[in-house]
Amino acid sequence: MTIAFSFTVAGLTRFAEARRNGHGVAAGGWAILALIGLAVVAAAIVLGIVVMTTKT
């Protein structure tokens, strides 16, 4: 979870820098990395809630 979120933070930071410098393609790449990281974190959260709710 920490590793995936680190990629999200890194992706968002690099995305902002690349966009500010006018590097559209690089910005898109970093945005995709951030989204993938965020998706993994979201999946981990959903999995955690499922684990909690399915304890019987």
Binding site: M1, T2, I3, F5, S6, F7, T8, V9, A10, L12, T13, R14, A16, V41, A44, I45, L47, G48, I49, V51, M52, T53, K55, T56
Partner: protein
């Protein structure tokens, strides 16, 4: 149970223990978020309180474990003072460790208290040593080590990924993430810890003859009252332990705070999934130490860490000793006599009033800047 008075005292003491559990364990959930200023202290505690309340309704598996796995539920039938003495022993050790700012496990405190009182009253035959070893002792050793390693690996990887970036946006990103990871921890804490009190009240209901030991089921009113007590305790906030967890073990940055919380939540939920219950306190303390040690070994104040580990080792025998002593005191007034529990309860109420009066005189708790 022969007396409704004793039953009411047991339920009241169980809810009081639940309150101290929330109060004691607030730090597990909020200390890192407050320390890194991811959330203002009151907001962090309010959120943790709400999620602890919600978590208590999620599952009842742990409640059944307390009722059935550690001591023989059938043996306490007709001996309500055992449950009462165990709870008072647990509260006593929780208050002592809170006073010294030590994050000991409330689960171990509860198990220790109940086992000590049971040993004093019935003997070793009523204690399920296999359950105690497998469900309490082994997880207690494994939890902090596992969290230490997972958090250390996580923070090393995180520093490699974000290490060369500007610290401002990175810090903001991890602080935002801490709101989510702290929320997950609070939910997991409510799911585990409120149920322990439910399990103890379940034992009292067995002893009172309201439910059968062979058909152990927790009534709805028990779930609601336990959830409320732990949420109120969490909202009251155990600031001494928050200070220890938030800044005395390591001086943490937001990435370390996220790594400790995220790794802690992952370890607790993964262990839960395979039926291996872990102490939230042990996991988070281990995670905080791992996140600090991976950056630099000397970043961890090993003296503080040593005191915490010593408190962990003492928790079960100390709470058990208190439980046995309290059982002895109540027994002195006669087996299942109302006088013993009534006198002990009155003494607890008086002691609690004195402690809180002293705390109020000392002024307000710490702010984020002090953590």
């Amino acid at each position: 149970m022969h007396s409704d008075v004793i039953f009411v005292l047991v339920v009241g003491t169980a809810l009081a223990f639940d309150f101290t559990n929330g109060f004691h364990d607030t730090a597990n959930v909020v200390a890192t978020s407050i320390s890194t200023r991811a959330l203002p202290p009151r907001v962090a505690i309010g959120l943790a309180s709400l999620l602890n309340f919600a978590g208590a309704f999620i599952s009842l598996k742990v409640a059944a474990t307390v009722g059935k796995g550690i001591v023989d539920a059938g043996s306490v039938t007709g001996h309500p003072t055992i449950v009462f003495a165990g709870l008072v022993g647990a509260i006593a050790w929780n208050v002592i460790t809170w006073y010294y700012g030590l994050p000991s496990s409330s689960s171990h405190v509860l198990f220790g208290g109940v086992v000590g009182a049971t040993l004093a009253a019935v003997g070793s035959g009523a204690v399920m040593s296999h359950g105690l070893l497998g469900k309490v002792v082994v997880p207690g050793l494994v939890a902090p080590l596992l969290a230490f390693v997972v958090a250390a690996i996580a923070i090393i990887a995180a520093y490699r990924i974000v290490g060369r970036l500007r610290p401002g946006p990175v810090g903001s990103g991890f602080r935002a993430g801490q709101v989510v990871s702290g929320g997950m921890l609070a939910l997991a804490h409510g799911t585990n810890d409120a149920q322990k009190t439910m399990g103890v009240i379940g034992l009292a209901l067995v002893a009172h003859g309201d439910i059968s030991a062979s058909h152990f089921q927790i009534p709805e009113w028990v779930v609601i009252s336990a959830a409320t007590a732990i949420a109120l305790g969490t909202y009251a906030g155990g600031w001494r332990i928050i200070r220890t967890m938030g800044s005395r073990i390591i001086k943490m940055d937001s990435a370390q705070g996220f790594a400790a919380q995220g790794s802690g939540a992952a370890v607790i939920l993964a262990a839960s999934h395979v039926g291996f219950p872990l102490s939230t306190t042990h996991v988070i303390s281990g995670g905080v130490m791992g996140a600090g040690a991976a950056k630099r070994l000397s970043a961890v104040r090993w003296g503080v860490a040593g005191n915490i580990v010593l408190a962990w080792l003492l928790t079960i025998p100390a709470a058990g000793g208190f439980g046995a002593i309290v059982y002895g005191i109540t027994r002195a007034f006669g087996v299942n006599s109302e006088a013993g529990p009534v006198i002990v309860s009155a003494a607890i109420l008086l002691g609690t009033a004195l402690v809180f009066a002293r705390r109020v005189r000392r002024g307000s708790p710490l702010t984020a800047a002090e953590t």
